[in-house]
């Protein structure tokens, strides 16, 4: 019996020893991440049969078990993945915000504000070289800041690729560790033991892997786990796969694969998911927005600058910054459509106005070139430029368009009003002038025009062969027929067309100049009364335009006297102004109350002055002049890079044109070329608050604020989500710690409770023993 007691005692001691070792192990690992508290499970030792009696053998320690809630553990793994993604995303977005969200002097908003401030200052003294340098420097600083941001974004992309590779390497290392533990755990547990610590290590490795990439864990019956990433096996009970990062050559997107040639994996969670999202979504989006911003900034400034004129006056030579490209692969440059010639900006249909200035006299001729985006080729555009008197155009061997004036001629693309619009002298000019209403004219076969000049009467017949369509003859065709007639020439007459009207004039000026329209069957079609005597004048009415047209649409305005009389003398003499559609724009009293030379204010910023002289409604006096809202409706100048302020078409390449940087006098501050002209600066200043169509109707400043605000908003959203997710993870970890974590105080209390319970039992049993002894004594 004594040996049985000794056996029971030994078993008890061994059990106590297991308990103590477990508690000691718990205390030692109290700070080990991922450690799960362990407990000893004990049971009654199997008894043995002693002469028919089953004798108990005390207690034995069966198994040391981890205290773990696998469901909770799986939630922590998932949460870790989500939080890993958010943490990495927040860090990356914060870095992006530091690039685009700078509010200091070196940020885009400050640089843009400085440029507008300098433009404003320069507009008060546009010839000041220091102020010009300031504007050019500010523009260069703005371009440089955008270049720097674009460079930082590109660098961040490279860094992110490096970080992604490092994260994938770390994930592969963790996968190998899990695979190693997968091999060891079944070995130990197959022998009937519990591999608690190895399981804890594996749980910790799985959690660390989850922080890198979203995964699923499936436990196998013999203690190994399968780890699935994006539906593909990364770790199986016997094998470990390897993640690889590649760049898709077709899309440029970052691809995560299971092995170098394995299936692609859509990683959405963890640090790796966040980095891929940054590479494939955030960075390209931000780079795209920056490029769009820089592109529109360049386009809007260039739209104004290309149609401006520097203080030095009209150009004699301009070379395009952007070359034409052989986009149709014909082997030749020039046969491409101008809208598809590989230029960095779109060319649309519309009109381009070209001013050619005779430098000696200052006489300006405004010409309009129509471009149809779907039809006009580069060669046709060049031909149209080249056909303008005094102007030449060609492509250089590299495809750059060169525009240059004939000797003594300059040119520009300004929308300015023609300061001397009546070069032809159709509005009170000195020559005897007859103007018809605007054509076309419905002539018939055999129609004639009968005139009488200094050499006597003569008649001109119109033949159908001279007209494209006799019933709709144009003023140009009629003028050509008249000028070809020998009698017409001999009588000193000349015909021309203006604004669709036929103009017949004497070559000389003065009151002695005269001719008569005697008759002819063509008169009804021409709108001229038979017997009209046309006389010249000794004094010419000098018409002058000034101001900047501010109307929304380009067109041709026409001045027509409403009676015959002398400017500034004839009571009630009035002139009406009609727009291109024949609608009345204004009626001006230029009679007795008007002082010749005074400016008359017309709508939309146009001002007119008339000198003294005679106007005649009966002789068809008129004056047609162009009002130009946009001298380049097609953006062809900005696309070609002719007289641009900014070169480049994205945030990386944006720059101030080199020759303007070197010589700020080339800044096109005006519209007329005079040194004090700041009208183009004012047009550029309007950009400060103008809506830009390419930026969703925002102004430049508003759009950039929105761009940087979007990043800040993303950060704010990511922060909120991360905080919420972090709280959830903390709550899960608290629950895990309560269940699985080691509390040293609790472990000591457990020990004290054990000791006290045994002490109490021991003490009480001594009392019981006394009672039993007393009882046995009386038996």
């Amino acid at each position: 019996m004594s040996s049985l007691s000794l056996d029971i005692g030994l078993r008890s001691l061994l059990t106590a020893q297991s308990n103590l070792e477990t508690i000691g192990h718990n205390v030692a690992n109290a700070s080990t991440p991922g450690y799960s508290r362990q407990n000893v499970l004990v049971s009654a030792a199997p008894g043995f049969n002693l002469r028919g009696l089953m004798m108990g053998r005390g207690v034995q320690a069966d198994v040391v078990q981890r205290t773990v809630d696998q469901l909770l553990q799986n939630r922590i793994v998932r949460q870790s993945s989500s939080l890993g993604r958010l943490g990495a995303r927040l860090s990356n977005l914060s870095e992006l915000e530091s690039y685009v969200g700078s509010t200091g002097d070196s940020g885009v908003p400050a640089r843009l504000a400085k440029l507008f401030a300098d433009l404003s200052t320069l507009s008060t003294a546009p010839a000041d070289p220091l102020l010009r340098s300031g504007v050019v420097q500010s523009a260069d600083d703005l371009a440089g800041t955008l270049n720097q941001i674009a460079g930082n974004v590109q660098q961040l992309r490279k860094d992110t690729v490096g970080a992604l590779r490092a994260n994938v390497d770390a994930a592969n290392t963790l996968a190998k560790r899990i695979g190693d533990l997968n091999r060891r755990i079944p070995e130990i547990e197959g022998g009937g033991l519990q591999a608690n610590d190895l399981r804890d290590q594996r749980d910790q490795a799985v959690r660390e892997l989850a922080e890198l990439i979203d995964l699923q864990v499936v436990e196998e019956p013999f203690g190994a786990v399968r780890v699935l990433v994006g539906g593909h096996m990364l770790v199986s009970p016997t094998k470990v796969g390897e993640l690889a990062v590649q760049s898709d050559p077709s899309t440029g997107e970052t691809v995560l694969r299971m092995g170098a040639k394995g299936p692609t994996i859509a990683a959405k969670g963890g640090g790796i998911g966040a980095l891929i999202e940054l590479l494939d979504d955030d960075l390209p989006q931000l780079a795209g927005k920056l490029d769009q911003y820089a592109r529109n900034l360049a386009l809007e400034f260039n739209r104004r600058h290309t149609t401006g004129v520097p203080g030095s006056g009209p150009f004699t030579l301009l070379t395009a910054q952007n070359p034409i490209q052989d986009t149709n692969l014909s082997g030749f440059l020039g046969d491409e459509l101008i809208s598809a010639a590989g230029l960095p900006f779109d060319v649309s249909s519309g009109a381009l106005y070209v001013n050619v200035t005779e430098l000696a006299t200052g006489a300006v001729t405004k010409q309009k070139i129509s471009i149809q985006a779907s039809k006009t080729s580069v060669d046709q555009f060049i031909a149209a430029l080249d056909s303008i008197e005094g102007l030449n155009a060609k492509l250089d061997p590299q495809g750059h368009l060169q525009v240059f004036g004939d000797p003594g001629y300059g040119f520009d693309f300004s929308p300015r009003l023609d300061p001397d619009p009546d070069a032809l002298g159709t509005f009170g000019g000195g020559q005897a002038t007859l103007s018809t209403p605007a054509g076309p004219f419905a002539l018939a076969i055999g129609d004639t025009l009968d005139l009488s000049g200094p050499l006597g009467p003569f008649s001109i017949a119109f033949n159908a062969a001279d007209f494209a369509q006799l019933g709709a003859a144009t003023a140009d065709e009629l003028a050509e027929v008249l000028n070809a007639d020998a009698n017409f020439q001999a009588n000193g007459l000349v015909a021309s067309s203006s604004a669709g009207r036929l103009v017949i004039q004497t070559q000389g000026s003065g009151a002695s100049q005269t001719f008569t329209v005697t008759g002819g069957s063509a008169l009804p079609a021409l709108g001229v009364a038979p017997g009209t005597v046309v006389n010249g004048h000794d004094s010419e009415v000098a018409a002058a335009l000034s101001g900047v047209y501010t109307g929304a649409a380009s067109g041709t305005w026409t001045l027509q006297p409403l009676g015959d009389g002398t400017v500034g003398t004839t009571p009630g003499l009035a002139v009406q102004v009609l727009d291109g559609a024949g609608q009345l724009v204004a009626t001006l009293d230029v009679g007795a109350g008007y002082t010749p030379g005074d400016e008359l204010v017309l709508p939309d910023g146009v001002r007119l002055s008339l000198g003294p002289g005679q106007l005649s409604a009966s002789q068809g006096d008129f004056l047609a002049f162009d009002v130009v809202a946009d001298a380049d409706e097609t953006d062809v100048l900005a696309a070609l890079g002719l007289n641009v302020l900014f070169t480049g078409d994205d945030a990386d390449t944006l720059a101030v044109r080199k020759d303007i940087l070197a010589d700020p006098s080339r800044l096109a501050a005006g519209l007329g070329g005079a040194s004090g002209d700041a009208q183009n600066l004012l047009r550029m200043l309007e950009l400060d608050h103008s809506a830009v169509a390419g930026l969703q109707g925002d102004s430049l400043a508003e759009h950039y604020a929105g761009l940087s605000g979007d990043v800040a908003l993303e950060i704010s959203a990511a922060q909120s989500t991360r905080d919420a997710e972090q709280q959830l993870l903390a709550s899960l970890e608290d629950r895990r710690d309560q269940l699985s974590g080691v509390n040293i105080d609790e472990e000591l209390v457990r020990m004290i409770e054990q000791e006290q319970a045994y002490a109490a039992a021991s003490q009480f049993l001594r009392v019981v023993n006394d009672l039993q002894t007393e009882l046995l004594n009386i038996l």
């Binding site: 054990q754 002490a759 021991s762 009480f764 001594r766 004594n777």
Partner: protein, 158 residues
């Protein structure tokens, strides 16, 4: 004689009550033995408390039994300390046969309880000694590893 018979019947009642109490004590001790085996301090404390409740009535029963023995000793003019249940049954002759059977039953019940008690006492003592030693060691380790919350007092003059 009728007084002796009546006292004997009362004594038989006491012994029967004691047999029942010993049986219950043995059951409690077996529950305690189970708690000792599992090492669950709460279960051990609970089983010990149950045992304590069961044995709380033991002194009263012992007093009643002693009073009856003293009464019989007076009738037989003997020293009460010389009387055992076996000698009382012998003196009572035929009247004592029933008491003798009850005495045998009580002996068996008490022996069963005593065996359980001794086994439990041994295990409890061993556990208690082991836990005491480890607890002392653990407390010393914890106290030595960590700085006191308020730092350690040092001699300001030093």
């Amino acid at each position: 004689m009728s007084d002796v018979r009546a006292t004997l019947r009362q004594l038989e009642g006491c012994v029967q009550e004691e047999i029942g109490a010993q049986g219950r004590a043995a059951e409690r001790l077996e529950a305690q033995a189970e708690a000792l085996r599992t090492g669950d301090p709460a279960a051990l404390a609970a089983s010990t408390l149950e045992l304590e409740r069961e044995l709380a009535a033991a002194p009263a029963r012992a007093e009643r039994r002693a009073a009856l023995v003293r009464a019989l000793a007076a009738r037989w003019s003997v020293d009460p300390r010389s009387l055992r249940l076996s000698s009382i049954a012998l003196r009572a002759g035929d009247e004592g046969r029933r008491l003798e059977r009850l005495r045998e039953d009580l002996r068996g019940a008490t022996a069963r309880a005593a065996r359980a008690m001794r086994r439990n006492a041994l295990v409890a003592r061993l556990h208690q000694r082991a836990w005491s030693e480890v607890l002392e060691g653990a407390l010393a380790t914890v106290a030595g590893d960590e700085a006191l919350p308020g730092g350690q007092l040092v001699d300001a003059e030093a």
